[in-house]
C-alpha cells in the first residue's frame, strides 16, 4: 500500500509549516534519508529527509501554503499503486492542489482608486502645458462648429431620418446640446416621444480624495495585508501570551562602562579577539545569575521553578523578525568562548541555518539595541523565563565624579521581571551585581 507522507513536527513549538521548496517531483525515486523538501517552521527553514523509500506518486502540498502538522503532503509507493485508495485509507484528501494561474494582471497599476480626471476630451484644446486644475465640464468635440439655425444631429441620425422620411426639424434631440441621435429618430419613426435627454457624464472628484493647494488629487494608496511568515506568527503568538499572562515590572540602572570600553580595546589590539560589548554583558549576566538564582527562574503555572542551568538567550534581529539563539551553560564559559559562540549563532541565525534546539531552552534572555542607537528600552519576557535584560547604547555622558564634572561612557540596562517570580528588590540586587561586574570587568576574567 502506498505511504502517506505527513508534514512533520520539526521543532517543539511548531504547530504549522510551509513547504518552502520541493526537492523531488512526481515520478522521482526517493531513497530513505534523501532530502525531499525544505520546510519553513516558526523558527527556521529545515531540511526534510524521507523516512521511507519509494517513488513519489503524488505531491499533495503546493509550495508556500501554510499547513497544520500531520497534513498529508505527498504519497510514496510503487509505480501504479492506487493513490486515491491510500488517501481514502488515511482519511484525507491531502492538501489542496495549487491554485490555477492568475488571470493576466492589468497593465500599469490601473489606479485602484478612481483618480479624478480633468474632463477635457483629447482635442487640440488640451494642448495646455498641464491638465487644468479645476475640471472643466466635459466638452464634446463636435460642439463648437454648430451654426445657428442648423439642427444638430449625429451622422447616423441624419441617415436614419432620411431613410424614414422624417424631417429632422420635427424631432427633439435628446443628446448633448439637443443633438438628434439614433434613439430619437427611432422613437419618432415609431411615433413615440423622445426619451428624456441623456446628458454626458460629468467628471468629478470621487468623495474622500483630498486635493493639494493647486487642486491636484493626493495619491490614495491601499492598505496591504502582509502574508505572515511562520516566524512572525510565532512572535505574535508568544508575545501576546507573555503580555497577557506575565505581570511585568521594570528596573533601569546606569552602568559606568569606562573600564569595559578600555578592556575591550585592549583585548582587540592585544589578542585580536572579536569581543563585543554585548559579549561582556552576556558574561556579566551569566555570572550574576549564578549569584542570584532567584532571577534564573520561571513561573510554571503553580509554582516558581529555579533553573539549574544558565542558558542565555541572545535576541538577534533578522530580515523577517527576531530569533533568540541560545548560548548554553554560559556561566561555565570564558569570555572568548562566549563571544565566539554568540557570534556564530548570530551569523547562522541570519542565514536561517540554526537547528531548532539551538533556539530553545533559554533560561534568561539579553536583548541589545545599543547598535541601533537606542538609549534604553524595556523588553517583553520570553514565556518560560522570569526576566529579560534590555541593553541600550554606550554613550559619552556628562558625569560628576568626586565633585568634578567630566565625561564618561555610560550604558543603561532595563530588567523586565515577572512579579510572580520575584520582587523589586530581587531584581535590583541582580542588577547591582551585574553593574559591579561590568564596572570592574577584570574581576570577571580573573
Amino acid at each position: 500500500m502506498a505511504k502517506i507522507v505527513e508534514l512533520p513536527r520539526l521543532s517543539d513549538t511548531m504547530e504549522e509549516g510551509v513547504i518552502a521548496k520541493w526537492h523531488v517531483a512526481e515520478g522521482d525515486k526517493v531513497k530513505r534519508g534523501q532530502l525531499i523538501a525544505e520546510i519553513e517552521t516558526d523558527k527556521a527553514t529545515m531540511e526534510f529527509e524521507s523516512f521511507d523509500a519509494g517513488v513519489v506518486l503524488r505531491l499533495l502540498a503546493p509550495e508556500g501554503e501554510t499547513m497544520a502538522i500531520g497534513t498529508p503532503i505527498a504519497v510514496l509507493g510503487k509505480p501504479g499503486e492506487d493513490v486515491e485508495a491510500a488517501l481514502a485509507a488515511h482519511g484525507s484528501g491531502g492538501a489542496t492542489a495549487a491554485p490555477a494561474e492568475a488571470a493576466p494582471e492589468p497593465a500599469a497599476k490601473a489606479a485602484p482608486e478612481p483618480a479624478p480626471e480633468p474632463a477635457a476630451a483629447p482635442t487640440e484644446a488640451a494642448a495646455a502645458p498641464a491638465p487644468s486644475a479645476t475640471p472643466a465640464p466635459p466638452a464634446s468635440p463636435a460642439e463648437g462648429d454648430r451654426a445657428p439655425g442648423r439642427i444638430a444631429a449625429s451622422p447616423l441620425a441624419r441617415r436614419l431620418a432620411r431613410e424614414h422620411g422624417i424631417e429632422l426639424s420635427s424631432i427633439t434631440g435628446s443628446g448633448p446640446h439637443g443633438r438628434v441621435i439614433k434613439t430619437d429618430v427611432e422613437a419618432a419613426a415609431a411615433g413615440r416621444a423622445a426619451a428624456p435627454g441623456a446628458a454626458p457624464a460629468a467628471a468629478s472628484v470621487p468623495a474622500g480624495v483630498e486635493l493639494d493647494a493647486s487642486g491636484r488629487p493626493l495619491l490614495v494608496r491601499p492598505d496591504e495585508p502582509v502574508k505572515l511568515s511562520q516566524m512572525r506568527k510565532a512572535i505574535a503568538r508568544r508575545m501576546s501570551q507573555a503580555n497577557a499572562e506575565i505581570p511585568h515590572f521594570y528596573l533601569t540602572t546606569v552602568v559606568d562602562m569606562d573600564r569595559a570600553v578600555a578592556l575591550r580595546d585592549q583585548l582587540k589590539s592585544a589578542i585580536e579577539a572579536k569581543v563585543s560589548f554585548n559579549d561582556l554583558v552576556l558574561m556579566a549576566a551569566s555570572r550574576a545569575l549564578r549569584v542570584h538564582p532567584e532571577v534564573n527562574a520561571y513561573w510554571d503555572g503553580q509554582t516558581v521553578v529555579r533553573r539549574g542551568n544558565v542558558h542565555l538567550g541572545v535576541a538577534v534581529a533578522v530580515d523577517e523578525g527576531l530569533i533568540v539563539p541560545v548560548v548554553r551553560h554560559a556561566d561555565q564559559k570564558g569570555l572568548r568562548e562566549l563571544a565566539e559562540q554568540a557570534r556564530d549563532l548570530g551569523l547562522r541565525g541570519r542565514d536561517k541555518k540554526l537547528a531548532p534546539q539551538e533556539m530553545s531552552g533559554s533560561t534568561f534572555t539579553v536583548s541589545n539595541l545599543g547598535m541601533f542607537g537606542i538609549d534604553e528600552f524595556s523588553a517583553v519576557i520570553n514565556p518560560g523565563e522570569g526576566a529579560i535584560l534590555a541593553v541600550g547604547a554606550i554613550a559619552d555622558t556628562v558625569v560628576v565624579v568626586d565633585g568634578q564634572v567630566g565625561v564618561g561612557k555610560r550604558m543603561k540596562m532595563t530588567l523586565a521581571c515577572d512579579h510572580r517570580v520575584m520582587d523589586g528588590a530581587t531584581g535590583a540586587k541582580f542588577l547591582a551585581t551585574m553593574r559591579g561586574l561590568l564596572e570592574q570587568p577584570l574581576a570577571m576574567l580573573a
Binding site: E101, A102, A103, P104, E105, P106, A107, A108, K109, A110, A111, P114, A115, P116, E117, P118, A121, P122, T123, E124, A126, A127, A128, P129, A130, P131, P138, S140, P141, A142, S154, P155, L156, A157, R158, R159, S174, G175, P176, I181, K182, T183, A198, A199, P200, A201, A202, A203, R216, P217, L218, L219
Partner: protein, 327 residues
C-alpha cells in the same frame, strides 16, 4: 495548454525561430551574459553562443545600423532596445535606412529585421523613459508596427515578424512582461495586420492595443453595470491597420472609443479616428472619443502620473458619454 508569461512567450518565439533558421540572431544591450534587461533572452546565449546572441556597447545608433547592414547581407537580425526610449538615438537608422533601402535599391535588398523592446509608460519612470513611440514609427511607410498584450499574441506575432522580409517594430511593455496566458505547445503563427476581438459586444466599440488592452477590458467590465456591452478590439498590428475589423464593429455599434498609451496630438489614435469618421461617417451616432495620455510630459510624481495615464474609470466615462448614458 501551458501558461506562459509574455517574456517567456517572446523567448519561445525567438528560440524557435533561431532553431529553425540559422540566419536569425539577437543583438542588443545586455541580451547575452545578463540574459536580457527583462529576461526575454534568458538562456539564449548559452544555447546559441556569442555569434548569435550579441552583447553590444551602449550605442543604439551603432548596433541598429549594424543590424540594418546584416539584414541587407542576408541575415535576419532581432535588435533589442532596452526600452524604445533609447531607439530615439537610432531613429535615423530606422527611418532612413531600414525603412527606405528596399525602396531605394529598387528591391535589390530586402530588410528582414525586427526592432523590439518595451514601449510607453511603465510606472514612475518620468518623462524621458515613459514615451509612447507608436506615433513616430507608424508615421512613415516602409515599416510594420506591432504592439502585443497577451503571451499568445506575443509569440505568434513575433514569429511572423522574424519571418517577414520587411523591418518590423515590435512593442512590448515593462509592466506586462509577467502577464500570464495560455500558449499552445504546437507551433502557430499570427498574421501581421489582423486585429483580435478580445471581448465581443454590441453597444460600443472600444479600440485599443498594448497597455491599453487591460484598461479597456476593465472599463468594459465597469460599463456592464450600466447595461453597456463593449466590443473590445485589440489591434495588435498598428501598421498596416486592420480597417475591416474596426469598421465592421463600428457599423454595428455606431460609436467608438480609442483607449491607448500615447499622446493625443496626431499619431496612431488620430489616424484611426480619422478613418472611422471618413469610412463610417453615416454609421456614427456620436463623436469618436479618445482616452489617452494628457498632452503633457509624463510626470514622475505618482499622483500626477495616474492622472496622465488612461485609467479604466476615465475610459468608462468616455464610453458612457458617447453611449449617451446618463450617469
Amino acid at each position: 495548454m501551458p501558461l506562459l508569461q509574455i517574456r517567456e512567450a517572446l523567448r519561445a518565439a525567438i528560440d524557435e525561430e533561431m532553431g529553425r533558421d540559422d540566419r536569425v540572431f539577437v543583438m542588443g544591450e545586455e541580451v547575452g551574459y545578463y540574459d536580457g534587461a527583462y529576461k526575454v533572452t534568458e538562456g539564449l546565449l548559452k544555447k546559441y553562443g556569442e555569434k548569435r546572441v550579441v552583447d553590444t556597447p551602449i550605442a543604439e545608433a551603432g548596433f541598429a545600423g549594424v543590424g540594418v547592414g546584416a539584414a541587407m547581407a542576408g541575415l535576419r537580425p532581432i535588435i533589442e532596445f532596452m526600452t524604445f526610449n533609447f531607439s530615439a538615438v537610432a531613429f535615423d537608422q530606422i527611418l532612413n535606412n531600414a525603412a527606405k533601402l528596399r525602396h531605394l535599391s529598387n528591391g535589390q535588398f530586402t530588410l528582414p529585421i525586427v526592432f523590439r523592446g518595451p514601449n510607453a509608460a511603465a510606472h514612475m519612470l518620468s518623462s524621458t523613459h515613459s514615451q509612447a513611440f507608436e506615433s513616430f514609427y507608424c508615421g512613415f511607410p516602409g515599416v510594420k508596427v506591432i504592439s502585443v498584450a497577451t503571451p499568445y499574441d506575443a509569440k505568434g506575432l513575433l514569429k511572423s515578424a522574424i519571418r517577414d522580409d520587411n523591418p518590423v517594430i515590435f512593442f512590448e511593455s515593462e509592466v506586462m512582461y509577467s502577464v500570464k496566458g495560455e500558449v499552445p505547445d504546437e507551433e502557430y503563427l499570427i498574421p501581421i495586420g489582423k486585429a483580435d476581438i478580445k471581448r465581443p459586444g454590441d453597444d460600443v466599440t472600444v479600440i485599443t492595443w498594448g497597455q491599453g488592452v487591460a484598461v479597456a477590458l476593465a472599463a468594459a467590465q465597469l460599463c456592464e453595470a450600466d447595461g453597456l456591452q463593449c466590443e473590445v478590439i485589440d489591434l495588435r498590428t498598428l501598421r498596416p491597420l486592420d480597417d475591416e475589423a474596426v469598421l465592421t464593429s463600428v457599423r454595428k455599434t455606431n460609436r467608438a472609443v480609442l483607449v491607448y498609451h500615447g499622446w493625443p496630438y496626431g499619431g496612431t489614435g488620430a489616424e484611426i479616428s480619422d478613418r472611422i469618421q471618413r469610412l463610417a461617417f453615416d454609421h456614427l451616432d456620436a463623436p469618436v472619443e479618445r482616452v489617452c495620455y494628457e498632452d503633457v510630459n509624463m510626470p514622475y510624481a505618482e499622483n500626477l502620473e495616474n492622472l496622465v495615464i488612461p485609467s479604466p474609470e476615465r475610459a468608462a466615462e468616455a464610453i458612457k458619454r458617447i453611449a449617451y448614458v446618463r450617469v
